[in-house]
């Protein structure tokens, strides 16, 4: 396995504080413009509108005045897959290796010129983060001037998804190389959504690096004796063993519960364990 940075494996990931997110959608807009996501002919066809970052609206289902809302931003989870060896649900099924797991960064890549649009990866991803280009990309007159030269626009008939703004990683690495540095700093590689979030709900960095904020946010709480991680942190559909690199944090039980499917009585056990960890 080829590794950069002298054999150190990074594991870039994201921590999203759901108690801070206001659902403003800045992350979606920033992501779209950063990554040259095209305009749609008919925006009413929601199920084929491309939004690499999508904000879901969750509710606790209780009537007013107990109603609570939570906004959940959802990028690609960059799943590590079973055993964290790159058997991400999507990567292992792609027949043409058009999507791949980069062991040096933990990022799941997407090669548009390799993809032939069989959409098996979309079927395998349970998070619906993959988007097919049903239409030719379009930019209204003048808007093509805003295209980022660092990201290739995608043609009709291929699948695309969030790349954790991988081009920014490459730029940061190039800069470090020119300056004869071995490592890039935490702030040198940040995703567009992280930077755009006005509430500071999104944090991005190397989960493997103890100095990075993301590592500290999900690492074991000193009060949570023996717990593998911050008890307020969870990942979406964790029990499916997709091993996502996006963590969510919330103080609210019902929000954490919404992160996975639990059979009757299961959630109470999980919650009790969390609570015990806090005592």
């Amino acid at each position: 396995m080829k590794q950069d940075n002298h054999g150190k494996n990074h594991k870039y990931g994201m921590v999203i504080d759901l108690d801070k997110c206001t659902g403003c959608g800045s992350c979606m807009v920033a992501c779209m413009s950063e990554n040259n996501v095209p305009f749609k002919e008919d925006e009413t066809r929601k199920k084929d509108s491309i939004t690499w970052m999508r904000v879901y609206k969750l509710t606790n289902g209780k009537p007013f005045p107990e109603t609570e809302i939570c906004y959940m931003p959802r990028p690609c989870m960059h799943c590590g897959g079973k055993g964290d060896h790159g058997h991400s649900p999507c990567v292992s099924v792609c027949p043409a290796v058009a999507t791949d797991y980069d062991h040096s960064t933990g990022i799941v890549s997407q090669i548009y010129t390799r993809c032939f649009g069989c959409r098996y990866c979309m079927g395998a991803c349970p998070y619906h983060v993959r988007y097919f280009n049903w239409w030719d990309p379009k930019w209204p007159e003048g808007m093509e001037n805003y295209l980022s030269p660092d990201v290739s626009p995608r043609m009709r008939g291929v699948v695309e998804k969030c790349s954790f703004c991988f081009h920014r990683y490459q730029q940061a690495k190039d800069r470090a190389y020119v300056e004869e540095r071995e490592e890039i700093e935490e702030q040198e590689y940040q995703t567009a959504c992280t930077q755009a979030c006005p509430a500071g709900a999104i944090t991005f960095g190397d989960l493997n690096n103890p100095d990075h904020a993301v590592h500290q946010m999900v690492k074991p709480d000193p009060h949570a004796c023996g717990k593998p991680r911050n008890p307020k942190a969870f990942r979406l559909l964790e029990r499916l063993e997709t091993n996502p690199k996006v963590y969510y944090i919330s103080e609210r039980d019902w929000v954490r519960k919404a992160g996975d499917n639990y059979l009757e009585g299961e959630w109470e056990k999980v919650k009790n364990n969390h609570d015990k960890g806090h005592e």
């Binding site: 099924v93 792609c94 069989c118 959409r119 079927g123 009709r156 008939g157 291929v158 499916l240």
Partner: protein, 411 residues
């Protein structure tokens, strides 16, 4: 008008009647070709598929035709490898059906992919871990085998057979057919299985996921088994349709009953395996992922538990009982019911493994994604059916598809 081409001693309808029938079906073909052109020129936006439903009607049609075309490899295996000689009287029909089904499957795949001109990437940049790669390789190779199996039949046309070269070629090809039939059976076992694997390996989709034996999920074996079990049902359904339309007996009862009996026992064993699989999945696999059986069959307007009952009981246990019991399968009406139910059952299984998988919500805050195909999808799905009707009609008219026809209709 075309009597010189019709097999000797066989009676066929007058040419104008035949031509009129072909023309009617031809209109349907043209409709499908037009829709196919739209999909190729304008893209898959012509369909009603979406980012939640990236696999839909076509993939179901693809899996279904491959399953019902399974009669070709299984009958070939029985005839050439296990040496069941009586089946030589129905093998030509299975080859024609297999050829139609597999060429249709390849056509559907060519329409279904977003970048058809890059279809060859699946071979060139092959990911050996992907079930789809295995499907593509085996499917193409098996289609080549079916073509080789079909050629001798074409060479037996009365006029073609008069050319010494073709006569000898056909004769020699017959001689080595056992090798091709065995190769075809091997390839077919793998791609039928891989098609099952396509769904079974999706470990993040609890409705599809099946635990495995070595590198294969259970669905790998269930798909191969079901294609071998139900494929002959489709062969017999087509035979009965032919006999109904032509008002002739085309294959002797002993051949039909033998194939029906083998199919019946295959369905019987398959349905036991399917029931065990369903129980294990419902009680172990799904709960380990946070789901109860009824989560997959409720809270939506279409996918109810009736699907499971229809697939396993009505289209599984019922045909298994009819076909395994001598007195039942020898009753022509019951036999027809059984083979039609069997054909529907395997198509329903493929439907569930393609469409229901996409519809089931996986994230706890997601909802069911229901979908209705666009006319372009329907037209392109009907296209292979119409093409199949034309091809099989031509084969029946001009080729000796049924070796016992003359003897059975000598009046």
């Amino acid at each position: 008008m075309d009597s010189a081409l019709i097999p000797e001693g066989a009676k066929r309808c007058p040419f104008p009647v035949f031509a009129a029938g072909i023309a009617i079906v031809g209109v349907v073909v043209l409709w499908g070709v037009y829709a196919m052109g739209l999909c190729w020129l304008k893209g898959l936006n012509q369909t009603n598929m979406n980012d939640y439903y990236g696999f839909a009607l076509w993939i179901w049609a693809d899996l279904a035709v491959i399953a019902i075309g399974g009669g070709a490899f299984f009958t070939g295996l029985l005839r050439y490898v296990f040496g069941i000689d009586e089946l030589k009287n129905i093998i030509n029909l299975t080859v024609v059906i297999g050829f139609i089904c597999y060429s249709s499957a390849l056509l559907i795949l060519a329409i279904d992919i977003g970048q058809p001109l890059r279809g060859w990437f699946i071979f060139w940049h092959a990911n050996v871990h992907s079930m789809l790669t295995e499907v593509a390789f085996c499917l193409s190779l098996y289609f080549s085998v079916l073509t080789i199996e079909f050629i001798p039949l074409i060479l037996e046309n009365r006029q073609v057979d008069k050319v010494p070269f073709f006569h000898n070629l056909g004769h020699n090809m017959h001689g080595v057919m056992a090798i091709f039939a065995a190769t075809g059976a091997f390839l077919s076992c793998f791609h039928q299985g891989s098609l099952g694997g396509v769904a079974g390996v999706m470990y993040a989709r609890p409705f599809a996921y099946r635990e495995g034996l070595l590198v294969w999920p259970w669905t790998f074996f269930l798909f191969t088994w079901s294609a071998a079990a139900y494929g002959p049902c489709f062969t017999l359904t087509v035979l009965k349709m032919f006999e109904g339309i032509t008002k002739k007996k085309l294959v002797k009862d002993n051949v039909v009953h033998l194939l029906a009996k083998i199919s019946g026992w295959m369905i019987f064993t398959y349905i036991i395996a399917k029931i065990i699989d369903t129980i294990y999945w419902a009680t172990v696999t799904a709960p380990s992922q946070g789901f109860k059986l009824m989560d997959f069959y409720s809270d939506n307007a279409f996918y109810g538990i009736w699907i499971l009952i229809l697939e396993i009981v009505i289209c599984g246990i019922v045909p298994a009982i009819i076909l395994t019991k001598k007195s039942f399968r020898e009753n022509s009406r019951l036999l027809l019911i059984a083979v039609v139910l069997g054909t529907l059952g395997v198509c329903l299984n493929r439907w569930v493994m393609v469409l229901q998988i996409m519809a089931v919500p996986v994230m706890s805050f997601d909802t069911w994604a229901l979908y209705f195909p666009s006319w372009q999808e329907i037209a392109t799905t009907v296209l292979p059916v119409a093409y199949g009707i034309i091809l099989i009609a031509l084969a029946y008219r001009y080729l000796p598809v049924f070796p016992q026809e003359k003897e059975l209709n000598a009046d």
